[in-house]
Amino acid sequence: MKVSTFIKKYTMVLALFVVFVFFSVLTGGRMLLAQNISNLLLQNAYVLVMACGMLLCILTGGNVDLSVGSTLCLSAASAGQVMAHGGSMGMAILVALVIALIIGICQGFLIGRVHIPPFICTLAGMFLYRGIARAVLDSQTVSIQDESYLNLFTSYIQIPGFDVRRHCTSALITGIVLAVLITLIFVYNKRKNGGMSKGSMIKIAIIDALIVFYGYKLSQYQGIPVMLLWILGIVLIFGFLTQYTAFGRYFYAVGGNEKATKLSGIDPRKVYFWAYLLMSVLAGFAGLLVSARIGAVDGNMGNSYEMDAIASCFIGGASAYGGSGNIGGVMIGAILLGVINQGMSIYGLPDQWQYVVKGAVLLTAVIFDVVSNHKTGKS
């Protein structure tokens, strides 16, 4: 592979690396502290989760869902109120997810069947659910006391007698086992399809090193967070859906050419319906994660979260016109945003400048995407 094509293919990975190193140096290594590494993904759990759904919406033709921040708030508020009024954890989660599901069905129906433009439909939803959420909260901040609820999302996996606070060896072992497993699967697949290239060996070696490093850092700070498992689960499910199933492929087809898709016997209305339904459910789930992490819900929760999810998708290489993008890229985009956010906070950059930096990053990413695709694209 030539250097130029390599750079083109892995631009965002390289950018992530450069930005990470930059902030590590800038913060005098504080970025690399175990606690910060561990928190990086947890703090951005909502982005990682919601970006999966947002990708589906964007795939259908560059459409976005603006209501997810409000949906997140409403589901968190409902869960909080259920528990504040003596409801069980199970009850709270059920109510929150059912509310998100209902929102998803409504929006999916309006956009898919009634053909309301997604932008307008979800813009209305953004106001609507925010308002309802505040009404549910009665304009108060509701704190969450339920231990089992908090544990379900925010605890760490520590094996009694084996792990102690700063030395959770289980995390490191898990990391090593995972790395070995990935390598084995990789080698097996390559054998079957013939030949391993030098490039792919280096790639797998880097991935292994990162996993082991991550496991090591986690072991130095309380071990594997449960929330990480939740995130991983969602990301894997959606990665699988979009990459390997017929269902996932329909999103790409509709975004690429809706008319041709329809004439091929695929109903675009259903595709839109599912995109917005899944998006809302994920937003609801993200509500649970965020509320557990903060330990309280207020009426401003999730403000402008939709923009983070949208930005991750575009930074991660999803096309603004739909039809292309993948979960892997979007996750890189989300983590890149997360690193920038965390790096700036640790460094102590004033709020106003944080916005400037985020905007600049988004713009650069999209400009790069458009320009490089233009050059490699049609003649």
């Binding site: 975004g255 008319k259 049609k378 003649s379």
Partner: protein, 513 residues
């Protein structure tokens, strides 16, 4: 003073990995109509893009000499300033704007103060429109006039730019015979007034009819320039230059093995317009297709053939559809496209880019799209290995020219896109295949291959319905021909009794009724 208005010398253009043009030479005389012919992907459009400045100076090597001057066009404006105007195959008109607005788009008539002078715009537009014989008023929206007239608007637009050398890329590919003839006659008329034109076309009868000289391009090189001042050139002679071999017949032979069994039938099929629901577009149409038969559908643009086909294909067009549909003798009620595919009825669109293919997806993904379930396993998971095999198989069978099946369809030439589109529908494995203008805008070689595929389908005991505006193709390929006009079925002919004249006279007679 030499008599060439344009000389392109040793033009070479390379894309990464491919030489699109290799030392191409083209000489066009003052006041002639010059045809540029060649197979799909031969480099005709690339050459014209070099000439118009779409491919800017510096990205190719070689010289362009126009009116004795060496030119270095950096963009379209440079070439237009000198009177070179190109009209692309896909018309560059904006549907929601009026004829006049479109005509002066980017070239607005302005007042001294710099805002648009609407009075002058509409007056000038009307004047240009008169020259091309357009009777509409300039304030009609582009979307409200037919493709044929849109083509005329493009030409009027070119005239408004003081065109000296007009380049037309496939001007008649979406026109019916009548409109095509009108357009060509108009060009001959302009020629008399001193206009020079270069025409790219696949329709060889038009080449013979209209051009004075013909340049043949094959695989990025100039093969020859033929003289046609007597307009009598043999079509076979041109084909030989294009494909580098003699095509013995333009329509492959097949054994006619038609059974009596009726595979598909429509009875009293009536369809109304999807938006103007009181406008009837298909009126009481009945027809039959037997096993092993190729049935042609003839008619002018707007005869309702596409509307008929699409409405039969799972109601994908129209409103208030009534009538009966039978497949294999059993009445079916096809709710949607999927239902239709499952019952073995497929429709291959006339417009591959808008309605046929996902251009941003790979060949493999497009091939399996209409029947993805054939390559999915447990939990709807796509078996990508199986999909690859299938796609490879079709690429080979169709002789689709592509570096690999993971190529995006948008990067292929028109003929190869058409082959992918056909692959997709053959993969869906229908019993009855409706082909809507299957050979539009593709070259003779690819056409021949597509005809072979049609023949193979019917020998396998399937049935093909072919909608086409090219009468020779219908006569060459079908067993029976239905003639439609203005939404009605106006005639049915056995091909052995049919001639172009007979079909046209049926259409014309039915107009008077």
């Amino acid at each position: 003073m030499n008599d060439y208005i344009l000389e392109m010398k040793n033009i070479t253009k390379e894309y990464p990995g491919v030489k699109a043009l290799d030392n191409v030479n083209l000489q066009v005389k003052h006041g002639e109509i010059h045809s540029l012919v060649g197979e799909n992907g031969a480099g005709k459009s690339t050459l014209m893009n070099v000439l118009s400045g779409t491919i800017p100076f510096g990205q190719y090597t070689g010289d362009i000499i126009y009116n004795g001057q060496k030119c270095e066009f950096r963009n379209i404006h440079d070439s237009e300033k000198l009177g070179i105007v190109i009209i692309h195959q896909e018309l560059a008109l904006i549907p929601e704007l009026t004829i006049a607005e479109n005509m002066f788009l980017g070239n607005e008539r302005k007042t001294a103060l710099g805002y648009i002078d609407w009075t002058e715009t509409y007056r000038a537009a009307g004047e240009e429109m008169k020259k091309v014989g357009l009777k509409e008023t300039p304030d009609v929206l582009i979307k409200d006039i037919g493709t044929g007239k849109q083509q005329l608007v493009e030409i009027a637009k070119a005239l408004s730019k003081n065109v000296k050398l007009l380049i037309l890329d496939e001007p008649t590919s979406s026109l019916n015979e009548e409109d095509s003839k009108m357009l060509l006659d108009m060009l001959l008329d302009f020629k008399k007034q001193g206009l020079t034109a270069i025409i790219i076309t696949h329709k060889l009868n038009e080449v013979a009819y209209v051009s004075d000289r013909i340049t043949v391009i094959r695989d990025g090189s100039t093969i020859e320039t033929l003289d046609n001042s007597d307009h009598k050139i043999n079509e076979e002679r041109i084909i030989r230059g294009m494909v580098g071999r003699e095509l013995t017949s333009r329509y492959p032979e097949r054994e006619h093995n038609i059974s009596d069994e009726v595979l598909f039938e429509a009875k009293d099929w009536t369809v109304y317009h999807p938006i103007y629901t009181d406008k009837c577009v298909v009126k009481n149409v009945s027809f039959k297709v037997r096993r092993g038969e190729v049935v042609g559908f003839s008619g002018l643009q707007g005869a309702g053939r596409t509307e008929l086909a699409m409405s039969l294909f799972g109601k994908s067009y129209g409103s208030k559809i009534s009538g009966k549909e039978f497949i294999n003798g059993k009445e079916v009620h096809l709710k949607n496209e999927r239902d239709s595919i499952r019952h073995g009825l497929a429709y291959v669109t006339e417009d591959r880019k808008t309605n046929g293919l996902v251009l941003s997806d790979t060949i493999a993904r497009n091939t399996t799209m209409a029947r993805l379930e054939k390559v999915t396993g447990f939990c709807n998971v796509v078996n990508e290995n199986k999909e690859k095999e299938v796609a490879e198989e079709y690429v080979k069978a169709m002789r689709t020219k592509t570096p690999s099946i993971s190529q995006d369809v948008g990067n292929l030439s028109g003929g190869n896109q058409q082959k992918v589109l056909l692959s997709k529908w053959l993969f869906a494995d229908p019993d009855v295949l409706i082909l809507d203008e299957p050979s539009r805008g593709i070259d003779v070689g690819a056409k021949y291959e597509i005809y072979c595929i049609i023949n193979e389908m019917v020998t396998q005991g399937k049935a093909v319905v072919m909608i086409s505006s090219e009468l020779p193709e219908l006569l060459g390929m079908s067993d029976r021909i239905y003639v439609m006009n203005e939404g009605r079925m106006v005639g049915e002919l056995e091909t052995k009794d049919a001639t172009q004249e007979k079909i046209m006279s049926i259409i014309l007679k039915s107009d008077k009724e």
